[in-house]
């Protein structure tokens, strides 16, 4: 395999994750490691997660698979057989990391017990990503992404009052678990660089979601108030602010400045509205006094005042495009932003100027992917190649790495092991 430029280029990862942890392997691959995704013969279950290219359900056309497995290699292996276990252990001996999402009660049977792996591979960093952690009262419980965002506390802060709690329609509990597992894994890696010894990293999805509460835990701890679902408002320390997303002439803008819309920059905001002749009554002494009083964040406008402010802003935003509004807001240090749709993102001038997007070659097309998530000056991350087909790298993995002959590999295949 070619050398990669990333900071972790010398290292190899065995990736046994499902959708709960696939981003973790992807991030390690982006950092330059060689990631070998092990799939059961016939292909990984996540190859059947949609959407699919052209809506054709095919294990090689899942965009979910493409997104989370580009930069990885694929080898197939039947872990449930003794011979499969033997090959798995040979692979672990050649690897630096193992990341897996095996349910705790099934781990031992698949040779993934923490002590078993420690005994045979003391220098391996072994990372388990599970819904609730490897032990504890809920360890054997099942959880999907929504159950993760619910049990971790994020859903109680998403949605509108009196209506059902929601989640982002892109799995954040899985994302949080995977990304935080990478941090834990790399902390263990740094320790191994110093000591030569590996260890086990036990990542809980629920716990990964927990620290998305923003300020809700100290708010409960100090004020005994539960932050709530704010709908199209915001809240900080249990104090609620006014509306935050407004409709512009061509879409939506997100209008928070620190402490709510009329926080520290209230005067500048009023001047800005006034320069367009749209400040309404806000230039009156009475209103300016009220707005100055909100700067401490503890007494935001409420009731009829709040409704009036929202009405003034709504009228104002509808008159202008998102780009006009945000460019002018930024000039008065209001950190407004554009609510991007996917189409907007791909057309975004800033990301294009930074040459963010990565073009990856597939058999019959070039496909645009999100680019590297950090820019390291000496050891750059890279998005190098498309996700692998089922068992695409069996000859490399079992031949080049483990030293089996082509005939041996054909025999393993005939036995249904790979």
């Amino acid at each position: 395999m070619p050398d990669t430029p990333g900071p972790l280029a010398p290292f190899r990862v065995i990736d046994l994750t499902n959708e709960l942890g696939q981003l973790a392997g992807r991030m390690l691959a982006d950092l330059g490691t060689e990631v070998i995704k092990l799939e059961p013969p016939g292909g990984d279950e996540s190859r059947f997660i949609g959407p699919f290219r052209g809506d054709v359900v095919d294990p090689e056309l899942s965009l979910h698979w493409w997104t989370f497995n580009s930069n990885k290699l694929s080898a197939t292996l039947d872990l449930t057989s003794p011979r499969g276990q033997q090959l798995f252990n040979q692979l672990l001996s050649s690897a630096d990391f193992l990341i897996e999402t095996c349910p705790p009660d099934a781990a031992a049977a698949l040779g993934l017990g923490v002590e078993t792996i420690r005994a045979s591979h003391p220098s391996l960093v072994h990372t388990s990503i599970t819904p609730f952690g490897r032990d504890g009262p809920y360890a054997h419980w099942k959880a999907t992404d929504l159950v993760g965002t619910a049990m971790g506390g994020l859903s109680s802060l998403c949605g509108a009052p009196g209506r059902p709690p929601i989640r982002p329609t892109a799995s954040q509990a899985y994302t949080q678990a995977s990304a935080q597992a990478v941090v834990g894994t790399l902390i263990a890696q740094y320790q191994r660089t110093k000591s030569g010894r590996g260890q086990h990293v036990d990542q809980s999805m629920q716990e990964a979601v927990t620290f998305t509460h923003d300020n809700a835990m100290p708010t409960w701890d100090i004020r005994r108030i539960n932050n709530e679902r704010p709908g199209n408002g915001r809240q900080i320390g249990g104090y609620k602010s006014g509306q935050y997303v407004f409709e512009a002439a061509d879409g939506y803008v997100a209008c928070l400045s620190y402490g709510g819309l009329f926080g520290l920059t209230a005067r500048q905001t009023v001047d800005w509205l006034d320069s367009h002749g749209m400040a309404g009554d806000l230039t009156s002494d009475e209103w300016l006094a009220k707005l100055d009083a909100t700067q401490g964040l503890l007494a935001p406008p409420s009731g009829a005042d709040s409704e009036y402010l929202n009405a003034v802003l709504s009228d104002f935003c509808k008159r202008f495009t998102r780009a006009q509004l945000v460019a002018e807001a930024q000039q008065i240090r209001n950190g407004w932003g554009i609510v991007h749709t996917p189409k907007d993102l791909l057309a975004n001038e800033h990301l294009r100027a930074r040459e963010y997007w990565a073009e990856i070659e597939h058999e019959d097309a070039h496909v645009t992917y999100p680019g590297p998530w950090a820019r390291l000056s000496e050891t750059p991350l890279s998005v190098r190649h498309r996700a692998p087909r089922i068992g695409e790298h069996n000859f490399y993995v079992y031949g080049n790495l483990l030293g089996h002959s082509d005939d041996d590999i054909m025999a393993l295949s005939a036995e249904g092991l790979i």
Binding site: L63, A143, M151, I166, T169, G184, T212, G237, Q330
Partner: protein, 405 residues
């Protein structure tokens, strides 16, 4: 004596200029695993979170914010006025003794102070510097500021976080502040590991938006490959018919009362789970009904059930289900308690408060929150004398001249 290994980042010193959410949460990972993280702040332009509620006793004060405290466990803090004529010189003398510099201003700040990566390499050649502006160090939006509430919108996450067909309200939190620090920390620790092996430092340009886009799952590829703009589905999932949050009975039993806001997440991925759900609800026919009908009947049944009890009964028969837990619920959650997620730490001005610890457990070198958040300038004397190397006279001189304001 024990033979426990040294802490992971023993001997690593960090000059932490970052503020608000993203930067402090990156250095928190280092501090909670043994690094000496020195926050550089100022009373002239205070770290904004020190001025953000909740405040202890509801009394605003730079050492009273629970918001700030939670993000800054295990750290030290000096005060330094970088606008003062001696401010930058002192900062550079400190950085010469540091392995890592973190910052999260818009790019003009470090340029104005003469503290770009190139400038700082002159005083510390193997430095690792991570810069974390909202939109990165270059490009037409580089000087734009923002907050996690806004960046979730710019990164496409808010587009996917809404009730179907309604305005893109996004999550109710400054979401990317609790997302991109993991990516930044991964890049930083990988760079530190590379330095440990090769001696080479480097600069990291971490544009928060570019990392946040990686949290949109298949949204980008569905557009670039299929030309389709994915849409928000409330709590729902495009591949599962039953995947939602359902309202339970209030604890008091009084529908419409103050506590009538208990919810449970229930998701069904296969026939076995639907069978188990139907059996538990006394509705074996659900397996053969239209999913929309099942949803209606399920919602009516759940409304009569207590959330925690229903969660346990559903999990017992193999149905993924979980209470929509509030902050109050999290503090008494038995699984989080088993893992020791919340650390109780004594703060000189705020008393004993709960702090979030890391969400992973390392078997040999677990994280440890060694102390509560620092008071502003708490470590001035030790840092400026012992690390920067100021004499007593120099220290007093700078103190009097306002360099440490």
């Amino acid at each position: 004596m024990t033979d426990a290994p040294d802490k992971v980042f023993d001997g690593i010193r960090v000059a932490d200029f970052a503020w608000v959410g993203v930067g402090p949460l990156v250095s928190k990972y280092l501090a909670d695993h043994g690094a000496e993280v020195i926050r550089i702040e100022s009373s002239v332009r205070p770290e904004p979170l020190r001025r953000a509620p909740p405040f202890v006793n509801d009394e605003p004060g730079l050492d009273h914010s629970g918001y700030y405290a939670d993000f800054n466990s295990s750290k030290q803090c000096v005060s330094l006025n970088l606008q003062h004529p001696d401010g930058v010189t002192i900062a550079k003398r400190l950085i010469a003794q540091c392995d890592i510099v973190t910052e999260s201003f818009t790019p003009k700040a470090m340029r104005a102070w003469g503290m770009t990566y190139e400038d700082l390499c002159a005083v510390r050649p193997d430095l690792i510097m991570i810069e974390m502006p909202m939109y990165g160090l270059s490009g037409p939006w580089a000087m734009w500021q923002g907050y996690g509430h806004v960046l979730q919108a710019a990164a496409g996450i808010s587009h996917l976080t809404a009730y179907p067909g309604e305005e893109p309200i996004g999550t109710g939190v400054a979401y990317t502040d609790f997302l991109v620090p993991h990516f930044a920390a991964a890049a930083l620790i990988a760079a530190l590991d590379h330095r440990q092996r090769t001696g080479q430092g480097q600069n990291i340009d971490f544009g928060q938006m570019e990392a946040a886009i990686h949290a949109t799952e298949t949204m980008v590829l569905d557009y670039t490959v299929n030309g389709r703009e994915q849409q928000a589905l409330g709590a729902g999932h495009p591949m599962h018919a039953i995947y939602g949050t359902y309202q339970c009975a209030p604890r008091s039993g009084e529908i419409g009362g103050d506590d009538d806001d208990r919810w449970i997440a229930i998701t069904i991925s296969n026939d076995a789970e639907l069978t188990a759900l139907g059996d538990l609800a006394g509705q074996p026919a659900w397996t053969s009904l239209d999913p929309a009908v099942v949803e209606t009947e399920l919602a009516a049944w759940v409304r009569t059930q207590q959330a925690e009890d229903l969660m346990r009964r559903l999990q017992a028969v193999g149905v993924p289900a979980g209470v929509v837990q509030t902050p109050e619920d999290l503090r008494s959650d038995p699984q989080l308690a088993h893992r020791g997620h919340f650390w109780m730490l004594d703060h000189p001005a705020m008393g004993r408060r709960a702090y979030d610890g890391p969400s992973f457990r390392l078997s040999e070198t677990p994280g440890e929150l060694t102390k509560a958040a620092p008071l502003l300038g708490a470590d001035n004397e030790r840092v400026y004398k012992d690390i920067v190397g100021l004499s007593d006279e120099e220290y007093i001189g700078h103190l009097v001249s306002g360099a440490f304001d």
